[in-house]
């Protein structure tokens, strides 16, 4: 074995063009080949050499895929044990995007927590904000005081967000199996949703817009018309998606009967969202345990009965239609709520200032500055206390889950009666659903692992938090 190793080292010295990072090394666990790009030849050669030396070549190969692999949906590391091209065991390595968001939230005020948790699952920021805010509202016992307009805006933003998230899922899933057009048109549409987010919240992602007590700002002028235009355009373009993919023989060939997981498997592994609904079980928290007034909207829960990646794709496509329906209803409601409050009336909780566009750009509204600096000392103290110290939340714990694009997302919010969260734990659906990787991909081909993972749609920002 050593001889072979030396030979390969010599070989690389003689051939300076060889990739210095793509070599083999001996470890306690066997020979390790580092493969970059498409130089699988060195692996094949190495295994052949082993057999030539009279040693038994292992009948299986363990391939480490990721965390920097373009097909693993982010910084996911897959450890695949292969027999030929068949995956005999698949394991996930995660933690490459762990940023300590939950720990950091314990050192900031309750309102600042929103700024952190919006960054977890970066494809569905509004859902992170909403579940955290609803948990804090439950502890504050102000759930019924959140104004109607704030609830409608939350629904509107969450459903727009569901569309953009599903678009990315379908787009990247398509890209990973080589369907580049699916990716380009998916991101094209997503860009329009992000433009709407930018118009409403000021940011394309990381909004920190849904806050305990309501939302940060009122709808800007002209936003409703833009959303109506977007809905009209999407109604034209979603059928194009369906026409491109639904009956596409290559697409179906890659997706059908891949990543199979039945209902019993889903429940045992705690899988929710489109993966659960692809087994035919219509479990959607928006219907079964409505929050934010979802019971007042007319929409259907989409299911499929194939339990495979193709069914999940069709569910996501159909859910975008349903989201458009909800967005339309929300827009109509907002049209009748002009000028209504968007934050809870309790001035001990509501953020004191509103933003306004001034001569030097966006900033605190001049009316508010005039009020606290020139008119009312108490208002100034109040502003200062709320912004620096924040409000107190009664001791206790709450868990208010909601249906994110990936399944049940919930925040276990614990307060000790202080001005900071004592502990916030997010039950992120990506984290839980990723556990299905093994059962979905073992026994299949390497190429199907990619499809299975894409059908789970994990977002590593949410997995690692």
């Amino acid at each position: 074995m050593t001889a072979t190793h030396d030979a390969s080292a010599e070989n690389s010295a003689q051939n300076p063009a060889q990739d210095p990072y793509a070599q083999s090394a001996e470890t306690s666990a066997g020979r390790v080949f580092t493969v970059t790009g498409q130089d699988w030849d060195s692996v094949v050669q190495g295994i052949t050499d082993l057999s030539d030396d009279g040693e038994t070549a292992e009948d299986h190969v363990v391939v480490n895929m990721g965390p920097q692999h373009p097909s693993t949906h982010g910084v996911l590391r897959l450890i695949l044990e292969l027999e030929g091209e068949t995956v005999t065991e698949a394991r996930c390595g995660i933690g490459y995007l762990h940023t300590g968001i939950e720990k950091n939230m314990e050192f900031r005020s309750w309102v600042q927590g929103v700024t952190f948790c919006t960054r977890m699952d970066y494809l569905s920021p509004f859902f992170n904000e909403a579940t955290y805010s609803m948990g804090v509202e439950r502890l504050l016992d102000i759930e019924d005081d959140v104004p109607e307009k704030a609830q409608v805006m939350r629904v509107l933003l969450m459903e727009l967000n569901r569309i953009s998230s599903h678009l990315v899922c379908i787009a990247t899933g398509g890209m990973e199996i080589g369907a580049l057009t699916v990716m380009t048109i998916g991101f094209r549409e997503r860009e329009m949703v992000l433009d709407l987010f930018e118009l409403i919240t000021g940011l394309r992602m990381n909004h920190a817009f849904i806050r305990p007590g309501g939302v940060a700002q009122d709808m800007p002028p002209g936003a409703l018309d833009q959303i109506r235009d977007f809905v009209a355009l999407m109604k034209k373009r979603l059928p194009e998606y369906a026409a491109l993919c639904n009956a596409n023989p290559i697409f179906k060939g890659r997706l059908q009967d891949v990543g199979h997981l039945d209902l019993a498997g889903c429940l045992a592994l705690g899988i929710t969202g489109p993966v659960l609904r692809s087994t035919g079980y219509a479990w959607d928290l928006r219907k079964t345990q409505p929050y934010s007034g979802y019971q007042d909207y007319d929409f259907d829960v989409q299911t499929w009965d194939t339990s495979d990646a193709y069914g999940r794709f069709r569910i996501r496509l159909n859910e975008m239609w349903e989201s458009l329906r909800i967005v339309e209803q929300a827009v109509e409601r907002l049209a009748g709520l002009e000028g209504a409050p968007v934050m809870v009336g309790d001035k001990k909780i509501a953020w004191p200032s509103q933003l306004a566009v001034g001569t030097d750009g966006m900033g605190n509204s001049l009316d508010h500055i005039r009020h606290i600096m020139g008119e009312s000392m108490e208002a100034l103290i109040h502003h200062f206390k709320l912004v620096t110290e924040g409000f107190r939340v009664p001791a206790g714990q709450a868990y208010v889950p909601l249906e994110s694009p990936r399944g049940e997302l919930g925040a276990h919010v614990v307060s000790d009666g202080g001005t900071r969260p004592y502990r916030v734990h997010f039950r992120d659906p990506s984290f839980t659903n990723l556990q299905a990787t093994s059962v979905m991909s073992e026994g299949g081909m390497v190429a199907d692992v990619i499809v299975a993972i894409a059908s789970i749609d994990p977002v590593m920002g949410g997995v690692d938090r």
Partner: protein, 263 residues
Amino acid sequence: MSDDTGDKKPADMKPGDFPEVTPGTEPDATDTAYENRLPADPEQLEPEVVGVRQGMFGVRGTGDTSGYGGLVRPVAMPGGTVRPYGGWFDDVADTLEAACAQGGLPNAVEKVVVHRGEVTFFIRRHDLLEVVRLLRDDAALRFEFCSGVSGVHYPDDAGRELHAVYHLLSMTHNRRIRLEVTCPDADPHIPSVVAVYPTNDWHERETYDFFGIVFDGHPALTRIEMPDDWPGHPQRKDYPLGGIPVEYKGATIPPPDTRRSYS
């Protein structure tokens, strides 16, 4: 709770047999009504004091100009609740109690807390695995879905420093409950529920990683988020957040865990 002391008629009593209850004060229907019953253990109803808060406005040490420096207040989590808990909470509590008694775990439920419309069952840690099995398999309970486990560290809650919190969902009955299990820092062991809820595999690894709670019976309890050789368990309260001062426009901003915190 026991109402057999009032059953004896004075005529049945032998001379010298002192009545345990003064005649005329036997428990009647009003006394046995739920709201007038004493709990088995009054300590259960005490709020769980998990710490002490001193002073106000985050002022530390000398130079306290707030005038509140001597203020001492306990930090208390909501205490146990007396029946009726309300709605389906009673159904679940009754069924669970009966199932536990039948399964030979009469004291499995330490206390029940109903707060903000959510119900929490504090479970004795040694009984956890059997209790979750009952919760999943009993047709009247049927909590077939577990949303994972979350750890909480209360360093000042002596003997109960580490809490593991489970959120269970019954899709059949559309109900949610919370289980809470505690263990001391000195013996951080809690039975693993992976055998009943395989979904908790990663969740328990995460809680072990961040809190150091050892889930006995877990198939492979290793770190999941932090590197394998990481020292310490980062989400514990005694683990510092870390950070460096940042200079911005000439001013230096200290790291978050050294800034003023408002007590």
